[in-house]
Amino acid sequence: MAERTTSPEAMSRRTFLSRISIALTALAGAVVTVPMVAYLLSPLIKPTLNVWVPLGTVDAFQIGETVESVYHDPSPVPWAGLTALTAVWVRRVSQEEFIVFAVNCTHLGCPVRWVQDAQLFICPCHGGVYYADGAVAAGPPPLPLFRYDYRIVNGVLEIRTRPLPVG
């Protein structure tokens, strides 16, 4: 311990050793941490998938009716199971015209349910209510129900998927 106070060389040697040890430890820490953090952030790196998926033949939807339909999500993990499905509300307005609604309430995303007799979408969370065309009828939702782009290809109704949060 005597060196600490007496020899300036020993001091600088000690400072050097201490600094190099800290630097090497920090480097080792970074080598381990950076890949781990990048792995955690990886969902950001994957591109957002907006692809056209089929919902079914046009004839399966009655004019004037609103029904639930499901599609297979474009980006699930192999073990996604049931969660590979996403539901939508499909309203066939006329021969050629459809409205495909996201099921998520525009307030906070709870699934709205269609009440056929009342011709209303009702949200179970905070009291949002929408008309058949998706316009807000009551409650806190700031916007009408979100819609998907759709097209009809060879008699099949297709929609372009959108990620959560739909909006």
């Binding site: 639930e68 049931l82 539901a87 998520n104 906070l108 209303l120």
Partner: protein, 466 residues
């Protein structure tokens, strides 16, 4: 050799190697000021955490964090595994106990001014422990993987999405992808069982080191403010003159209280049991009733009750503001009076916070703003008064056209809109028709999708409500 001698020999052998008498005993017997019963809340929180670790390890032995198996594995734990229901029950009620205790501990430290000099870092590490405890509560709910848990995370994702600038990116990080699914479940699982517990172990270590290094705060005395220049000297003088050994003179209170908490948790687990699972999480089943567990139900209720115009700012701004206030508190208010008798604002804040949370959890439980999601049979007092066929048809319309979802008659129905008891006395026929057709005051307009016949029947029914 007698048993005592053998025991003494073992102790001597261990002591030479572990330094029990020189390093451990001085720590657990270090002098502390005499305090009241509120000082047990911190140690009780720690005991609840240990409960969670032990039962969590047991649950992880059987839990499978994959969408096709998670639900089944919890059903297995609850109904088939040996003592599984008890373990899951302890984990569930232990979580509630931990949330309650950590909140009460924070309130007590705030009320007694214990966060003031030199214990600012105790408060700051404690703030993060409080946040991580809530994080554990939140990530734990999804692991049940039933409908309510699934949609509660969808709701959380929508709230995160309101963050300015980086909302969508944050959502992708939280749910680990573009939809709530398999990757979300594994991410929540890893966060719940590895990441957050590891951070909490680290912080608890620092928190306890600070408790030992700085000593627990003495009981606050009105008129004796904290002055950083003199506090440590005064505190050490107090310990020398009036201090008692932590073990066992002070610690017996901690032991008694922790035993009480443990007993309540185990009794609840044994006799009430863990919460029943709802249906399996399935994004294609839209008959869901998403609710967070009670720890976040107050926030859920608040989001229904605040004006929609300030919602965007509120969703992100309110939690951020609370966290900032917690972090800034010990830095700006670290000296002065500690006694709650001299700090009426502190007392007021704690009272208002606890009362509001209590009231909001209750409101969230009954959710009077929410339309009913099922059709309820009308009470006999209503059905026996139906005279004409059109009134009978009107009653069916009232139930099926979602009138009942928001309006109650005879105590049956939603609370969102006004009760329709006696509506036939209050409103004329034309007024009733006008309300149905035009809606207003947060009621949908039925014009356009109600036939004249239906309108007539429904009005007949409503007019009969005298």
């Amino acid at each position: 050799m007698s048993v005592t001698t053998i025991g003494n020999n073992i102790y001597r052998w261990l002591n030479e190697r572990l330094g029990i008498s020189t390093s451990v005993l001085p720590v657990i017997e270090h002098p502390v000021p005499e305090t009241d019963w509120f000082y047990v809340l911190g140690s009780a929180t720690l005991v609840a955490f240990i409960f969670q670790i032990l039962t969590g390890v047991a649950l992880a032995m059987s839990y499978v964090p994959a969408p096709n198996s998670a639900y089944d594995s919890i059903q297995f734990i609850t109904h088939s595994a040996v003592l599984g229901s008890l373990i899951r029950g302890i984990h569930y009620f232990g979580a509630s106990a931990m949330v309650i205790l950590v909140a009460c501990h924070a309130a007590h430290v705030f009320l007694y001014g214990s966060y003031k000099f030199p214990r600012e870092l105790n408060w700051l590490t404690g703030t993060f422990l409080l946040l991580f405890t809530l994080g554990m509560a939140f990530t734990g709910q999804l692991l049940r993987w039933d409908q309510s848990a699934y949609w509660a995370v969808v709701v959380a994702a929508e709230q995160v999405a309101r963050t300015p600038f980086i909302g969508p990116q944050l959502v992708e990080l939280v749910i680990a992808g573009q939809t709530v699914g398999g990757a979300t479940l594994t991410r929540f699982y890893a966060t719940h069982v590895f990441l957050l517990p590891a951070l909490m172990f680290l912080l608890i270590g620092i928190h306890l080191y600070l408790v030992i290094f700085l000593g627990i705060s003495e009981m606050p005395t009105p008129g004796v403010p904290v002055d950083p220049a003199t506090y440590k000297e005064r505190y050490h003088h107090l310990l020398e003159t009036e201090g008692i050994p932590f073990w066992p003179d002070a610690a017996w209170k901690d032991v008694v209280f922790a035993l009480g908490v443990g007993l309540i948790v185990v009794l609840l687990a044994a006799f009430v049991g863990p919460p029943a699972l709802e249906k399996l999480a399935d994004p294609s089943i839209l008959q869901a009733y998403p609710r967070p567990d009670w720890y976040f139900l107050w926030l859920f209720a608040l989001l229904a009750l605040i004006p929609p115009s300030i919602e965007n700012e509120f969703i992100i701004g309110f939690p951020t503001l609370v966290v900032i206030l917690f972090l800034v508190l010990p830095l700006v208010a670290n000296k002065g009076e500690r006694s709650p008798r001299r700090r009426p604002w502190a007392v007021g804040i704690v009272l208002v916070a606890f009362l509001s949370i209590g009231v909001l959890v209750y409101e969230g439980e009954i959710a009077p703003w929410s339309p009913l999601t099922s059709v309820e049979p009308l009470p006999a007092s209503v059905t026996q008064n139906l005279k004409t066929p059109s009134e009978v048809r009107g009653a069916a319309l009232y139930q099926n056209m979602a009138c009942q979802a928001c309006h109650a008659i005879g105590g049956v129905g939603g609370l969102k809109g006004p009760s329709l008891d006696g509506v036939g006395r209050r409103l004329t026929r034309n007024q009733i028709i006008s309300r149905i057709m035009n809606g207003g005051n947060n009621m949908p307009a039925y014009a356009g999708h109600i036939t004249p016949q239906q309108l007539n029947d429904l009005t007949d029914f409503l007019q009969a409500q005298k």
